[in-house]
Amino acid sequence: MKNKLRNILLIDDSKADNFINSRIIKKADVTHNIVVTYGAREALDYLSTSVDGSFPNPEIIFLDINMPDMTGWDFLEEYRKLNDNQKAGVVVCMLTTSYADDDKEKALSYNILSDFSNKPLSFDKLMGIIENNFPKLV
């Protein structure tokens, strides 16, 4: 892949899931940088902290819904309040199969999410997401 994304942010409380997701993203070689966070607060801090005057602005956020303390929904609620220059390009909601249908409806009501994917992330799913949202890259 010639043109890579700059930055992808992962939000998942599970170490294993983050490991699996970042492994797949690394293997697919679609981005220069992967940032792993283990909770919604950490992710929000990351998004709203500027380094050298600019915010990280990841192109894609993979967001787990089922997390302790702040859930994915809570994250979206807070994310909405961020300034536009702090937001990401695309937020992908990671759903677990069993809840998928109920959650999809809820997720759509936020008007932020650009995509869904069922857990676990696979190479094909990742490429699908990139194709949908960054057609110029492929």
């Binding site: 294993a16 899931d17 699996i20 089922n66 677990t96 199969t97 069993s98 676990p120």
Partner: protein
Amino acid sequence: MKNLFSQIQNLGIETSTLPEEIRILKIINRLSALGVIVISITILMLFLTGEQYFSGLAALTCYPLIIGPLITNYYQKFTLSRIIFLFYPFPTIIFFSILFPKEAHFQYYTFIVIGLHFVFIDYITGKWRWVYPLFGLCCSVFLEWYHYNYIHLLDIARFHTFCIHISNDLFIIMTSWVIYYTMLKERDAATLQIKQKSLELEQKNTQLEHFAYIASHDLNEPLRTIHSFIDIIREEYDHSINQEFQTYLDFIQDAAERMRAMIDGLLSYSRIGKSSDFEIIRINNLLTELTDDLSHLIQINKVTLKVPELPSIYCSRLELKQLFQNLITNAVKFQNTDNFPVIIISYEEQSKYWKFCISDNGIGIREEKQQDIFNIFTKLHRRTEYKGQGIGLSFCKKIVELHQGEIWVESIPNEGSKFYFTISKNIVS
């Protein structure tokens, strides 16, 4: 006033009193209080109109009957109070009836006496329960006979006879009212209790269903991780995996796979009936659709499926289809290898249910296991013999219960099984 009334009707009731006792005590107290009021008015009336002699007599005989139980209840002498209530009336009624003219209506008290015993000591007397009412009835017949053949012993003014007659009738009517009132109260209390219990049960049930749903959902997550890492190991250590390692990995994967199937089963089980729409379904259409879905299975196993003309019934389409599907696929699955499955579907219309039967010529089920098979995760065979998680029939059971029916099996090992299920004709949701 209200306070006084409640104090009187609760005379003798303590916190340790049994509910059955409370009920009897209350009714005795109520009746006695009523008696005191009515008889006091009568006596007062007689006294004021110049019949001091009779009023004294009436007071002497009646007050022990009506005040006695109140006092004995107050002192917790319940048996005594009941004896007074049950045996004092006979001589009193007979005495007054033959003393006064028939028009005074004393003889009608026997009807109260006939019923009283059922309220007070029915649970003690057992098979002798008819003796007392019979005695009351004899008493009543005797008085009728007496009034027909003999004249009353005392002559009193027509006006006084009228007064006594009114107060007697009033007492008899009020007594039946008190008993009705008591029963009504009891019924209301019982209905309320049933309502509360069923509400509680409903809540528990919902909780349980929710629990199964959440549990199976949450169990899925770590399992998914196990699967992912098995894949990662296979991918990254492909070259260094020896035969033994491969076997171990296979075992892990196999176990995880089975667990996933069970969790999925549990999840679907908890979802049965969650979003079912009930409508009139032509069962034949449903089965045609089903045989199309299962055409591959039917062809490779050379299945003979006999479906007669079946009724249209009110049911949940998806769930009934699953019910038939599970029973038919079971009939195909549990077969000896050298046998061709013959499945016959039949039905019978009963007054309150549709009864369906799905019979097969499969391996059958031993009698002692015929109940267990409807429990979730119950398997009668090793996995290597017949595949599956042991969830199919538990689904069937839950679906049938959703249709307010029953499911059972009749089977002879090595000859075949007949699965019966009923669907209620009047499904109340």
